[in-house]
Amino acid sequence: MAPTPPVRPVMSHSSAFLLPSPPSSSAAPDGDGDAYALLVLNQRLPRFAPLLWDRARVRVCADGGANRLFDDMPELLPGQDPDEVRRRYKPDVIKGDLDSIRPEVKEYYSNMGTQIVDESHDQDTTDLHKCITFVTEKLAIPNRSNLCILVLGALGGRFDHEMGNINVLHLFPTNRIILLSDDCLIFLLPRTHTHNIHIESIEGPHCGLIPIGAPSTTTTTTGLRWNLGKPPTSSIQYQQQLVLNLQILSPDDTSMSFGGLISTSNIVEEESVTINSDSDLIWTISLRHHS
């Protein structure tokens, strides 16, 4: 009999940070279960930026992201005095090669105590990459390796920037980095793990799984309208299979590739979606435009 294959570790994902009122229970005993860092890149702020800002553990602007904060945050809070909004929504750090930030914006935040870190000597990595390295290596906060990193302004705009940002997800596969826009969010599902994605009310219904870096030969999902791979014969059997890592990845499971099938315009049908794949996948889900 063949030796039991190693059990795949499970990675759980949730976007509770997007809910209007924070979740009542916190997962980790030290209350850090929902902690996240917020990074702002140089594109128009999405409508939920104030909500995300309020609850962030740390807030970093990548270069021209500081311009966006300065210009757009007062517009997102129209009932409030713009100067008061700018004072309140002050980043902890502004980092990058500083060739996009306007001089008056830099001066404004510097005077308010924001740490300005000039990385213009380093032209080998993108601004997002520099910020991720900063958050994961240099921040003086407890449990920083568990910190979720939310990024605004990483999608859309110049396509090479978007690709570079998606590449950063692949370069830091063990960190939880989520790219958000007004329309959707995306994050990496590394092939090393089984993934359990809890779907919040504010997400969906449209979703997709994208093998952007390499084709996937075998992917299995549950919880979607059009699931990939062999359907489980019963949920108990499926749970057993997950634990024993047996029978999940078999040759006739659905393969995905550019030039062939990729899963787009799929629909989440259950509160929890599970995904197993032999290749890194990008998960994407739409965000509801509530009133």
Binding site: D160, I166, D183, A214, G259, I262
Partner: protein, 255 residues
């Protein structure tokens, strides 16, 4: 090694002369014919010019709403109705779940062919539009006909990915996805590629991305950071924020 590795490959020539004002079409490169496909996102600022010089204009479902609503503010015209009457697509194609009834009625009354494919839920609206062009274009014409698509980038990421996949599914066609900020094309690995840069409208920023599969070997000329038999893949090196140097950049993929 290099001589053995690179087989004699056909060259594909690319240029973006469609972005130039008509008067500036250079004499030595023939003005390319192109079809224009409009998807359901904000129109790019250069849409009036693209529209005017297109051989064929197809709105994919809600793309018709965008032409109806947004074209006026992109022109210098004062007369709203005149603008509306001038920009009439030849075809509106898709599953018709986004186009507003009054928009559909208007274009139908102006002679647009309404091609209702709502029974087909297997493919995206862009896929339907490209399929139609593919079917009605001979193999010979395919090498000369460019298909320009607006509204395919940005917005929902799964839509964007599906639109990029169209470039791969129809790799025998020249499809260009355009936005206000950039354009993208597929460079199939079966060919060498010569890309003529229209520096008045394009650049300087550029990039090469091995979307879908790693690249074993890429070599370029004409860029600030050229690649020399470089391996590229997501999770490792990809070429972003590069700069075009020359008027012509040459790149090809080996095995």
């Amino acid at each position: 090694m290099l001589g053995r590795a690179i087989r004699s490959m056909d060259v594909m020539v690319h240029s973006s002369t469609f972005l130039l004002p008509k008067l500036h079409q250079p004499g030595h490169t023939p003005a390319k014919n192109y079809a224009l496909v409009v998807l359901n996102q904000n129109l790019p600022r250069f849409m009036p010019r693209l529209w005017t010089h297109a051989k064929l204009r197809i709105c994919a479902d809600g793309g018709a709403n965008r032409i109806f609503d947004e074209m006026f503010q992109l022109t210098n015209e004062q007369d709203y109705e005149r603008v509306r009457n001038r920009y009439i697509p030849e075809i509106i194609e898709g599953d018709m779940d986004s186009i507003r009834p009054e928009v559909k009625r208007f274009y139908s009354s102006q002679g647009s062919q309404i091609s209702d494919k709502s029974h087909n839920q297997e493919t995206t609206d862009l896929h339907k539009c490209i399929s139609r062009i593919h079917r009605s274009t001979s193999d010979h014409e395919k090498t000369n006909l460019c298909v320009l698509v607006t509204g395919a980038l940005g917005g929902r990421f799964d839509h964007e990915a599906a639109n990029i996949n169209i470039l791969y599914l129809f790799s025998d066609m020249r499809i260009v996805l355009l936005s206000d900020d950039c354009l993208i094309r597929l460079l199939p690995k079966t060919h060498k590629h010569d890309i003529y840069i229209e520096s008045s409208v394009e650049g300087p920023h550029c990039g090469l991305f091995p979307v879908g599969a790693p690249s074993g070997s890429t070599t370029t000329t004409g860029l600030k950071w050229n690649l020399s038999e470089a391996k590229m893949r997501f999770g490792s090196m990809i070429s972003t924020s590069n700069i075009v140097h020359a008027e012509k950049g040459l790149g090809w993929n080996g095995p």
